[in-house]
């Protein structure tokens, strides 16, 4: 879990679906400077960034992983353009789960004097889930900003 960087060229992309804000890729294949390839599996990419993920795009690619959720959150391309984007859907979903399960537990305790097991587990799990997704986003922002002086060599 965390963030990483790939320097290379996009060789292939398999777009699974594109929504209003984000795109989901089945895989993104990078060609590295040493000639080897690296595959980035199922990825969620904000559309501003997804627009740069075309075969032939060369530069530095900023990647994140949070449990089984992964994606590309930034690109600094060899043509001088740079773009950053990171969705907060999972953070909002974690807050939603927390609120709904907290209400369920509270009403159940008031009504029957007992807390339902499933809602209690969800309530407990939603907190570390939120923190994990938030920390990954903060790490991604810091990573991209800290690397702001980088300019990839022109291909």
């Amino acid at each position: 879990m965390g963030v990483s960087i790939i320097d290379g060229t996009i060789e292939e992309v398999e777009l699974k679906r594109r929504r209003k804000l984000a795109s989901v890729y089945s895989r993104i294949l990078f060609r590295l400077p040493d000639g080897t390839t690296k595959t980035w599996g199922k990825s969620v990419v904000w559309n501003d960034v997804a627009d740069k993920l075309k075969p032939g795009t060369q530069g530095r690619f900023y990647l994140y992983t949070a449990i089984d959720h992964r994606g590309v959150h930034g690109v600094r391309a060899a043509d001088g353009t740079e773009v950053y984007g990171f969705g907060r859907v999972n953070e909002y979903a974690s807050i939603g789960v927390f609120v709904v399960s907290a209400l369920t537990v509270a009403f159940s305790i008031m009504a029957i004097g007992d807390a339902p097991l499933l809602a209690t587990i969800l309530l407990v799990l939603s907190v570390p889930m939120y923190l994990l997704y938030r920390n990954t986003r903060v790490q991604a922002e810091r990573q991209f900003q800290a690397d702001s002086g980088y300019r990839p060599p022109a291909g």
Partner: protein
Amino acid sequence: MASRPLWAWREAGGVAKAARLLLYATAALSTLAAGAALAIGVENFESDAIGKFQLGRSLVSLATAITFFVWLYRANANVRALGAEDMMGSPGLGVGWFFIPLANLFMPYMTVRDVWRASGRPRDWQGESAPVTILLWWICWVAGNVLATVSFRIELEHGFKMTPEALWLGLLCDLLWIPASLLLASIIGGAQERQVHARLSATMA
């Protein structure tokens, strides 16, 4: 890609072999238990002999679980030592998922799947696919555990007395644990073999 040489290769062949042998024993004991449930029936199910058999079986299950967790941790750490990056969490969390409610319904499957994928081509593991046997193992394992829990609850409600419903659910659970144990033994053997080949290739390169 930023490199983090945090993990060192540790031989896991012996642990893998022990885990596989214990899984075969678990499958054999599940077969015996299923046969016993059919042959003995509810009325004779609470004899001393059955009690001793269940105790022995529990001890084998415990030893199997511990050995499997040790292998899973080492295998997960070893693929990282071979260059696998961006895997989920840490090797410790890979084992920890088995004990986190709700997450233990799907995260252990993902962990074993990713260890399998990374065992073949550690440096480009996300480009590897996983065999369907891993999913089949996980379905059998989860379904067996759900049935075992329901069977145990029924027994609990009847003051730990065996009932026909609990016996049949236990029988179904055993019938699911047989393929689950055999499939997991095969997965461990396959992943271990892939890791040894990957290490050999890395050493020769």
